[in-house]
Amino acid sequence: MPRALWLLALAAAFVAAPAARAEPGRVPLPVLEVDRTTTCVAPPEVMRRQHARMLERRKDLTVRHGVRGGKEALTSCIECHADRQTGAAVATPQAFCQACHDYVAVRLNCFECHQGRPGALRSGAIEPGTLSRWLR
């Protein structure tokens, strides 16, 4: 029965498709250095999808209503997620925010205004042009 064989082949192709998608593509997955001894404000699956929405809500609360600090503040994100070598959450391909945003090709423009380093001016000046090079 050639017709049944065709159908079987088609079904097999559909079943196999997700497996093929799970294989590594041309772009390597970002390798993130995360301290698992502490916990974020939500589980990683939630954070991956919702962090932009959380930050957006928080931004209005902070700018318009003066609610600052706490674990949901962007400064707190940076305190935790700054890269250990470079001390920044952006500006290098390995940096926490930068690595993922490069992978998914989503422009990261928070740090055109926000400081990507925890207490940058306290610890010493960063080289000029480093951030703007990565934030084009």
Binding site: V67, R68, A120, L121
Partner: protein
């Protein structure tokens, strides 16, 4: 002769006593928060939304302000991570204005910053509502919605606002700033929200010519000084109801 009522000189009837007790208890509840909670905790605590119970402002004493002194300007630059350049395109949140009275030759220097109007023209003209007044009277720019059109800079009678023309990398973490946005004095809003009750300029002034405080609280030092000293608003004819007042002009 009037007849003496049998109840005179005795305690009130039980029902009347209950009513008085209830009234006393009610009065206690009503007075206690009025006296303690409202008066003491007028300003929002850190982490709470700001309220219109307070109105932050400055009182600047032009008699105490020293000619040639730039301490407030430098302190503002340090506090907010401003570059401190003096080109026309550089950002300036406080300017020292030197005045000279022609008839008498009396010279006067005073700092001029955003006057934190109650009726701010910059907020009126902003096409994206990025320019806004917070509940506690501080006029700010929401950089997330500012499109850099600079209409507010034209509308401001005090030239208080600046445009950021170049990319910035040295921002302070608590004062985000970026190219393409208009900005001005924030009355050190990050300090106020942390619970501090002084601005960088007032703290740095060597002669204490700048006084920061709550204009709504009649017990605050700024309110007491405004009530006793002759103070002026700059361009009072515009009737903008300023948060910054000057004395000794």
């Amino acid at each position: 002769m009037a007849e003496v009522s049998p109840n005179q000189g005795e305690e009130p009837a039980p029902s009347r006593r209950r009513l008085l007790a209830a009234a006393a208890a009610f009065a206690g509840v009503a007075i206690a928060p009025g006296v303690t909670l409202v008066e003491v905790a007028r300003a929002a605590r850190p982490g709470e939304p700001v309220t219109s119970k307070v109105r932050w402002g400055l009182l600047i004493d032009a008699n105490l302000c020293q000619e040639g002194c730039q301490e407030c300007v430098l302190a503002c630059n340090r506090e907010n991570g401003l570059e401190g350049g003096t080109r026309p395109v550089d950002v300036q949140w406080i300017r020292k204005v030197e005045l000279k009275e022609r008839a008498t030759g009396r010279t006067l220097g005073l700092p001029v910053m955003c006057q934190h109007c109650a009726n701010p023209p910059c907020v009126d003209v902003c096409p994206t509502k990025a320019s806004f007044k917070r509940a506690d009277g501080i006029v700010l720019v929401d950089r997330h919605t500012c499109i850099g059109c600079r209409y507010c800079m034209l509308a401001c009678p005090y030239k208080a606002r600046s445009m950021v023309h170049e990319p910035i990398t040295q921002q302070k973490p608590e004062v985000p700033r970026g190219k393409g946005c208009v900005e001005s004095c924030t009355l050190c809003v990050h300090r106020i929200d942390r619970g501090e009750r002084n601005t960088a300029c007032a703290e740095a002034c060597p002669t204490k010519a700048i006084l920061f405080g709550d204009l709504n609280d009649p017990e605050s030092e700024i309110s007491r000084r405004i009530a006793s000293l002759p103070t002026k608003e700059l361009r009072a004819d515009l009737r903008l109801d300023l948060g910054v007042r000057y004395t000794g002009l």
